[in-house]
Each structure stands twice: as structure tokens, then as C-alpha cells.
């Protein structure tokens, strides 16, 4: 039963990653691409982490996995902010 829930979570997470990648390829400008990347990819990572935490053997491993997700969340939020601000200051919309 737990395996089934974990598999559903992981597959949903992969779906979000796929949507984020399609957004990266298809959206018109930098800011909307950043938006797709940070939102969709981090949610996908959270779901994949939750799924693997369920499959993990011990509570310690599960907590470590969730801490990894929080770290990636903080780092990607900060770098998205920096990239967007830099692009805004330089004024190009590539």
C-alpha cells in the first residue's frame, strides 16, 4: 500500500518536472521561463522527495530527504530572484 502511494507521488512529481521543462522550451521570455522553472520543478521535487521518503527505510533518511528539498527550495528561490533582477537591470528580455 505504501509502495503504491509512493509510486503515485513519484510519477506525479515527474509529471510536474515534464511540465516545467515544456515551459522552459516554449515560454516567450526570461521571466516567465524562470517562473515555470522554480514553481513547477520545485513542486515536482517535493513530490518525488515525499515518495522516496515513504520508501526509505528509516525516519532519519526520510528527514534528510526532506531537508534536501528545503535546501533546494531556498537555493532556487534565491537564484531565480538574482537572475530576474539582473535581467531587469540589464533591460534585455531574451
Amino acid at each position: 500500500m505504501i509502495d503504491f502511494i509512493a509510486i503515485v507521488l513519484i510519477v506525479t512529481g515527474i509529471g510536474f518536472f515534464a511540465v516545467g521543462s515544456i515551459g522552459l522550451l516554449r515560454l516567450p521570455d526570461l521571466h516567465s521561463r524562470l517562473h515555470a522553472l522554480t514553481k513547477a520543478d520545485n513542486l515536482g521535487l517535493g513530490l518525488v522527495t515525499l515518495g522516496t521518503a515513504l520508501l526509505a527505510g528509516s525516519l532519519a533518511t526520510a528527514i534528510k530527504l526532506l531537508l534536501i528539498w528545503l535546501l533546494v527550495l531556498a537555493a532556487s528561490a534565491a537564484s531565480a530572484n538574482l537572475i530576474a533582477r539582473h535581467a531587469l537591470e540589464r533591460g534585455d528580455e531574451r
Partner: protein, 319 residues
């Protein structure tokens, strides 16, 4: 069915590695090439994990992708042009090069396949597994690095020291970065202590799980890179006098342990049974500090103007 899925994963990973490697070297824009190289390094870490080499995966993600990418980006910042010059090669020269490359690839692939087939020959892995009980640690890679082939690691520390001495001799530090905004500042304030604690953990856990001095040193160097990007020109390193000692500490401690053991009658770097674990930890701690200071100085580019944390750039944001 299981084997088929694993093979599919391997083929996908291999195809992406080749694609990213090709794109990283073939693109005209150097900044894009470096970004692709960082992604290539991270995928390579996945390949190491697939090939049952977790120590290598940690080291590749930290050093091969992270620090190498940071070094290349810092160098790119000083480069006036970011586009590769259009190469003026003759058609005949280009085709000769392509032909020779294909021939080289075929020959090396054939040699590799022969080597893989002879795999049941003499292997050192058996010897390592037999003697790992006496080595003082239970992680086989750490045992090989710091006990069975300790001499090689000693010489490697000397090579790193020589490279950093070269970097230090070639000029002062690169120009610094401006003061960070609230987002970057907050991130640095949280990440740097976390990185220091993680480095200590990696050093300690290297004895019985994947980890060790190199990964720990690289994590500390990553903290130094973060500090430098946040406007601290000295990247958190102590004053030059102390940094010089830290740089040499790994090599000195390693040599010191080896020579004292030789003086006491055990032979150069032959650890006595029972003391091996403790000696390895002492050597690894000194090596971690040395590697961290070496990689941080290599990133900064040289000795920075002492004591100054004021940036010399006039723009407000970071580049």
C-alpha cells in the same frame, strides 16, 4: 524486465552525457558552454552513482561540477569577449582531424573492450577486502587513499599545493563583487554555517561511509566561494600569514606522521595496528583544511588586499 529497465536508464544517461558534452564544447557562446558544463558535471555524478561509486559522486558534484564551474565563470568575468572567434581552418585540415578522431575513438574503444573482457584477471580489490580489517577504517576507498596507497595521496597534496603556489605567484586576486542584496545576503547567512557543519560531518563519516577529506574540503571551499560572491573579498580566509600555514598543513602533517613512524621503527607511513584509525583521522583533518584553503585561494585568484572587505566596483548589484 528489471535488467531491461536498468539498461534503458544507462542508455539514456549515456546519451545525455554525450549530448551535453558535445554541446558544451561546440557552442559559440562561452557562458552557455560553461553552464552546460556544470550540468554535464551533475549528470556525471549520477553516472558515478549508477556505477556504484558514491564517493566519486559526492566529489564530482562538489568539485567537478561546482568548483570547476565556479572557476570557469570567474575567469569568464575577466574575459573581454564571450564569443569564440570564428576558426579559420581549411576543409582538408578539418576532415583530417575528424578522420583521426574517429580512428582514435575506434582504437581506444577496442582497447577498452579488451580490458573489460580480461576483467577476471589480477585485481587488487580482493587484496583490499582481505586487509580492510587492519586498515583502521571500514570505507574501502578511504582505506585505499589513506592507508594502502597513502604515499600517492601525500604526493597528490603536494601537486595541489604546487598548483595553488603557481596561482598565487601569477598575480593578485581578481576584482571583488559588490555588496549583496537581502536575498543573497540571507541565503549566505544560512548556507555558510550549514556548509561548515556538513564539511565536518563528511570528514567524520568518511571512515565508514562515502565521504572523506576531499569532499569535506570541497564543501568548505564552496562556503568560501559563497562568501566571496557576497562581497567578502577575502572569502572568509584568515590573514595571509595564517592561510599560508593552513595551506601547507595537510602536507606537513602527512609528512610528519610518516617520518615519525619511520623514526620509531615502523617504516614510512606504516601505521601500527590499533593506531591506524586515529592517525588517519588526524591526517584527514589537516588535509581537509589544506584542500579548502587551496581551492578557495584558487577561486579568489591570489592574495587579496589585506583586511579590506570594501568592494572596488561601483555598481550596486553583483555581476
Amino acid at each position: 524486465m528489471n535488467a531491461l529497465l536498468w539498461t534503458l536508464l544507462d542508455l539514456l544517461l549515456a546519451a545525455m552525457l554525450l549530448g551535453l558534452g558535445w554541446a558544451a564544447v561546440a557552442t559559440r557562446d562561452l557562458k552557455r558552454g560553461v553552464a552546460l558544463f556544470i550540468a554535464f558535471g551533475l549528470l556525471l555524478a549520477l553516472a558515478w552513482a549508477r556505477l556504484r561509486a558514491p564517493d566519486l559522486a559526492l566529489a564530482e558534484a562538489a568539485i567537478g561540477a561546482g568548483l570547476a564551474g565556479a572557476l570557469l565563470l570567474a575567469a569568464l568575468r575577466d574575459e573581454p569577449r564571450h564569443e569564440k572567434p570564428a576558426a579559420a581552418h581549411s576543409r582538408a585540415g578539418l576532415w583530417t582531424l575528424n578522420l583521426l578522431s574517429v580512428l582514435l575513438a575506434v582504437v581506444v574503444a577496442w582497447a577498452l573492450l579488451c580490458a573489460l573482457e580480461m576483467g577476471e584477471g589480477l585485481r587488487l580489490a580482493g587484496a583490499v577486502t582481505d586487509h580492510i580489517g587492519q586498515s583502521g577504517v571500514s570505507n574501502p576507498v578511504t582505506a585505499v587513499l589513506l592507508n594502502f596507497r597513502a604515499y600517492d595521496t601525500l604526493l597528490e597534496l603536494a601537486v595541489i599545493l604546487s598548483a595553488v603556489l603557481g596561482v598565487l605567484a601569477l598575480g593578485p586576486a581578481r576584482r571583488g563583487y559588490g555588496l549583496p542584496g537581502p536575498v543573497l545576503g540571507g541565503l549566505i547567512r544560512w548556507l555558510v554555517p550549514l556548509l561548515i557543519v556538513t564539511a565536518g560531518y563528511l570528514l567524520w563519516v568518511g571512515a565508514h561511509a562515502p565521504g572523506g577529506a576531499f569532499q569535506a574540503g570541497a564543501t568548505l571551499a564552496a562556503a568560501a566561494v559563497l562568501l566571496r560572491l557576497g562581497g567578502v573579498d577575502r572569502a572568509g580566509l584568515p590573514a595571509a600569514a595564517v592561510s599560508r600555514w593552513l595551506l601547507a598543513a595537510g602536507l606537513l602533517v602527512f609528512l610528519g606522521v610518516g617520518l615519525s613512524l619511520a623514526g620509531l621503527g615502523y617504516g614510512f607511513l606504516q601505521y601500527p595496528a590499533g593506531l591506524a584509525g586515529g592517525l588517519i583521522l588526524v591526517i584527514e583533518s589537516a588535509a581537509t583544511l589544506s584542500i579548502a584553503v587551496a581551492l578557495a585561494l584558487a577561486y579568489v585568484g591570489g592574495w587579496s588586499r589585506s583586511g579590506s572587505t570594501q568592494p572596488d566596483s561601483t555598481q550596486g548589484g553583483s555581476h
